[in-house]
Symmetry: C2
Subunit: 301 residues, 2 copies
DNA sequence: TAAAAATACTCCATAGGTATTTTAT
DNA sequence: ATAAAATACCTATGGAGTATTTTTA
């Protein structure tokens, strides 16, 4: 079955005549007959009921007509859609983000992006990092902004660029004895404080664990909370102390609800956010514009 | 551009290799190269960026891939959709109806239809009769149930079948002096009563006007209401009398809120409901089942 | 009898194959 | 050196045309 046949068939339906369809297509009437016959052979059904030199469309023909017409219209729209891809003002941008990114980084990025390119068809998916990366692999989204992960960096089917350093911060409540101290030593963390952890399968947890292992720190009292907001609240309530993404505490630092304390060697832990896309697909103009925005974002340097 | 080319292109994208795509299609690698080259020539853009013996998909290629994939999936679904048309349990039924029909006839018809064929994809459009017929002509709906109209019966592009006689009824309020009278003469209508009309562009109005003209009746006092419900309320409130579709007063007759009075020669006015479809398209199984239901409906005889 | 579609038959354009070249790893 | 895609060239299938037949209004 060919597109030519579908086009001819649609025209026959619309013109209600083989001959007129042939004229429209600048071809012989016999060719139209042959194409319709070929379609009917292909599907094994009559598309028209011939009544003398007259015909009606069968229900099967109606089905084919509606589908074929839609396909032809879609095909005609392809050149326009192709032109749109190198225009960041008209293109499409499907972003995926881990919940940390989605909560603390995306809002300002998306606001600025929408200001500059208000007509971009923009969708955002928020999920666990590994699910976002799966969606990238499936082609359901085109660009992911997630926490660093060696598995993804090593995957040749993905293209990753590190865009921002995510510092860890040691946070305590305001008025804590460490506030104002020049430098806390890691072993000081063990002196009687509850340590508040994030979920074991979160990207941040592995980074924190890495630091604790490196410093040989084992806590007597540990608390595990579901998300950043719970951790911050627990610290505020003087339940314990925590290591947390710097980006997640900007607001609390500004309002003085939490305090950050300098911890020795914490800066040896270098976590980064990654912009991930498929290695076998190139970025369109809208996606490139978003990458440029992220890379030039002073707040993320 | 051919469907073959689109299929080959999709396979190259999925397999990330011209050679493997050729294997899947049981054809030579050179043919795949030629088909891709033809597509690129046709659209005047590169679909792949060749990097040595490696390649990536361009943004234009991504656009084409998504569209082409959708088309191929749609095409594959055609045989199943064709089989569904001669199965009233799985087909599609798009009905249009004038507001009278929609209010007083359709509810019971649709309930019974849905009982028998619960999986039919059923949509109903309600509008003025002429707009429903326009939708039939456009192919937006497949079957219309509307009031009689000579223009539509004469149109060769439409197929109409009269399915039910819509009687006119003379209605008055209960306790009116005419209640119980054997037969009212048309000229009696003029004796001091307000006559309540429907909208001038409604199908029923032209029927009522025809009768009034035939009987040479010209009222001193006339009231015009937007719809059947308003007319019935006005009669109930003893504001006036009216000629109205019998189907529209079934409920009020049953509950005694209105009274019908026999009017001489009113039965000479013969209005019918029409089932209208396109003359150049045959009914599918679901549509035939609905037609059968309407034709066998005792309430509509 | 005229108008429209189907059929028979011919021809050539082009899609696909084979063989080879190019290119990058 | 090898693996993969592009290119050149050839062949044959099938699509379009011409001419004719069939059908019914």
């Amino acid at each position: 079955m060919t597109l030519q046949q579908l086009e001819t068939f649609c025209l026959v339906v619309e013109q209600k005549s083989f001959g007129r369809a042939a004229e429209c297509l600048y071809m012989a009437q016999s060719s139209v007959s042959q194409q319709i016959a070929a379609l009917e052979r292909h599907y094994g059904v009559a598309l028209f009921t011939r009544i003398g030199r007259h015909f009606t469309v069968t229900p099967e023909g109606r089905v084919l007509y509606e589908i074929a017409k839609g396909i032809l219209v879609t095909l005609n729209a392809i050149p326009a859609r192709m032109k749109a891809v190198d225009n960041p003002d008209k293109g499409r941008l499907r972003i995926g983000a881990s919940s940390t990114v989605s909560t603390y980084l995306l809002p300002s990025l998306l606001r600025r992006f929408k200001d500059r390119y208000p007509y971009v068809d923009l969708t955002v998916k928020t999920d666990y990092g590994y699910k976002i990366i799966d969606a990238i692999r499936e082609g359901d989204i085109d660009l992911a902004l997630v926490g660093h992960n060696l598995n993804w960096l090593a995957d040749p089917s993905l293209r990753s660029r590190a865009v921002a350093r995510d510092q860890l911060s040691l946070i305590v409540w305001p008025g804590h004895e460490w506030c104002g101290r020049k430098l806390i030593e890691p072993r000081d963390l063990l002196h009687g404080y509850v340590f508040i952890h994030s979920r074991p399968d979160s990207g941040m947890r592995s980074v924190v664990d890495k630091f604790l292992l490196q410093e040989n720190l084992v806590f007597d009292a540990v608390l595990e909370m579901a998300n950043h907001e719970s951790i911050k609240l627990a610290v505020e309530e003087k339940i314990g102390i925590a290591l947390i993404s710097s980006v997640a505490i900007r607001h609390e630092m500004a309002t003085g609800r939490l305090a950050e304390v300098p911890l020795n060697r914490l800066n040896t832990i270098d976590r980064r956010f990654l912009l991930v896309s498929r290695a076998d697909e190139e970025l369109n103009a809208a996606e490139k514009a978003f990458v440029a925005l992220v890379e030039n974002d002073a707040a993320l340097q």
